[in-house]
Symmetry: C2
Subunit: 343 residues, 2 copies
């Protein structure tokens, strides 16, 4: 097998110079570079493979595809990824995908090539982005939080369905039976799974599902859209006494909308969120929510990616971190004062 | 002068193939690539220059150096940068610098080279990072929000000193004379300028400065450190009746600390923030603050960078966007109930 030393000898340059040309990591005079390229071609040296191996040692760049920076969920995940990658000696470059619909194979491929990344982590995708599977078969890729349903792509997340079920079951245990949900009109697996978990809990409690209690906020979980979705639930003839939201920011929107209607949380309405972002305890009522270990998800995704880059035998490909329901002030026992009296 | 067509003819390939080799933007067979490199060398075609020019058209990557993703200030700025860059056909890659102290010339240089970025935007730096000046003389660089004091580096920001002065003058106009400040223990120009503006306003009002009214929170403006800084002010023998904070998150910490001490904002204590991030109006009391046009700063920095990349004559290098004091609930007229009775 032809070695890099053979190329260096044939081109009359040092091994370091060959490496610089193949990895494009330093300035090489044009005619020196041409000599190296020619030697590579003449000797049938496997330049792609070697360039790739050397490159792996040299680039040490991880590309992160992240949507919607204004969501504190993602900032916490990013912090976890960046802390681990820094310790492992990697630079992280974050590309704003705006929303999951902006993801497509040519974008991912071109970002990857342009930045010669050693691997990639996606923080959001639609649950049916099956094209990511062919990509993942060629490059180290880990999906964090959101992943493609049923695909063979390494991912780390929480069990969204179980967490939603547990939260809604908690609302049931507080005496609520008319329970609404504010979910998101996106195609994320988490939104679908949280809705499934909500339905699981109702079924377990023997409560008939009622589509009029399912409200959809915007795809990006905005505060304003949470308020709007809440109004459709709360102004209905037969409003819920408790609302489960698929994100904290939506829950804050629901609390604000309730306030506008003269309803006090939790006395008139119980509200539960999802994520446990920082500001859920900056103001009263402190939010009852699902604590998602965002930072740990970020850390775990980078560690998992590292194992895949290193082709470590037995590298994990499917991890679910434990969630925790955090009981605070926004959800309380249903009493006579609670608005809904229909059940 | 040798043209790319000459190289293509000499190498027996298409112009597109030469371009692919020079820009490394696509797969080219090793021997084809070697032929192109050889032709480039033989004809003394200026590969660096052309590669650079073509690369400028091809790389279209802007590198953004951003600290602390969990601060919503930066997420809004990032959104503005990304929206404009997307419209201009650029990809933005964001590198997490953690804090401004992590910035150094070799990091910036290596990120720039590795990613072949067309330009760079920094969102934070220390006010004395003069080494950035030599960097800016070689590469398109724009500083957004924070910039190096007195340096010749294109920047866009707000007039932090004037904004702080206006805010504190507003507190004076409400009858407060014992006014504290919670600032940050970082080396950002904004922190220094906001402290200067606070002192300007006191001086204008004929109020003697009192160092015991200046409290320092952590360098990263955390909620917890805002609470802690507030306690030193509020538990003092002669506490302030109003506190100006150099960021909203610190102001939220002050409000929380006041609540723990049984003080109601604004009845017992007036609080003003800085930035006007989203969650200042998610809970009561709505925060009186300085509206910084974060998104517009992001937009403006990318437009400015674009002009510098294009070497547009008359490209702007110093822009200050207008700020606005937003009067809400957290700052009110000093009354007898207000805690401080010492003036």
């Amino acid at each position: 097998m032809v070695k890099i030393e053979d190329v260096a000898r044939a081109a009359g340059v040092s091994v370091a110079t060959v490496s610089r040309v193949l990895n494009e990591t330093g300035r090489v005079l044009p005619d020196t570079e041409a000599r190296v390229r020619e030697a590579v071609a003449r000797l049938s040296y496997e330049p792609n493979l070697s360039a790739r191996n050397l490159r792996k040692n040299e680039s040490r760049i991880i590309l992160i595809l992240a949507p919607n920076f204004s969501n504190p969920y993602y900032s916490n995940v990013l912090a976890g990824i960046c802390d681990v990658s820094r310790n492992l000696g990697y630079s992280t470059l974050i590309y704003n995908t705006y929303d999951s619909d902006a993801l497509d194979e040519s974008l991912v491929e071109s970002l990857f090539q342009k930045n010669r990344a050693d691997g990639m982590i996606t923080l959001a995708c639609n649950r049916d982005d099956r094209w990511l599977e062919s990509y993942a078969s060629r490059y180290p890729l880990v999906q964090c939080s959101e992943y493609v349903e049923g695909a063979q792509i390494p991912h780390i997340s929480v069990d969204n369905r179980a967490a939603a079920r547990d939260t809604v079951s908690h609302l049931v245990s507080l005496g609520h039976r008319r329970i609404g949900i504010v979910t998101s009109a996106n195609r994320y697996l988490s939104s679908a799974d949280r809705l499934r978990g909500y339905r699981d809990a109702l079924e377990e409690a023997g409560i008939d599902p009622d589509d009029s209690l399912v409200a959809y906020a915007s795809a990006d979980y905005s505060f304003a859209s949470g308020k709007q979705a809440a109004r459709t639930l709360l102004e209905a003839a037969d409003p819920p006494s408790a609302v489960f939201c698929v994100s904290d920011i939506l829950a804050l929107g629901v609390i604000a909308a309730a306030g506008k209607l003269g309803l006090q949380v939790p006395w008139d309405l119980s509200v539960a969120g999802f994520d446990d972002v920082d500001y859920t305890t900056m103001f009263h009522p402190y939010l009852t929510t699902v604590a998602v270990p965002c930072y740990e998800l970020g850390r775990g995704s980078m560690l998992m990616l590292y194992d895949h880059i290193q082709q470590k035998p037995g590298a994990q490909s499917e991890v679910y971190l434990p969630h925790k329901i955090v009981l605070r002030e926004s959800a309380a026992q249903k009493t006579d004062r609670t608005r809904s009296n229909t059940d």
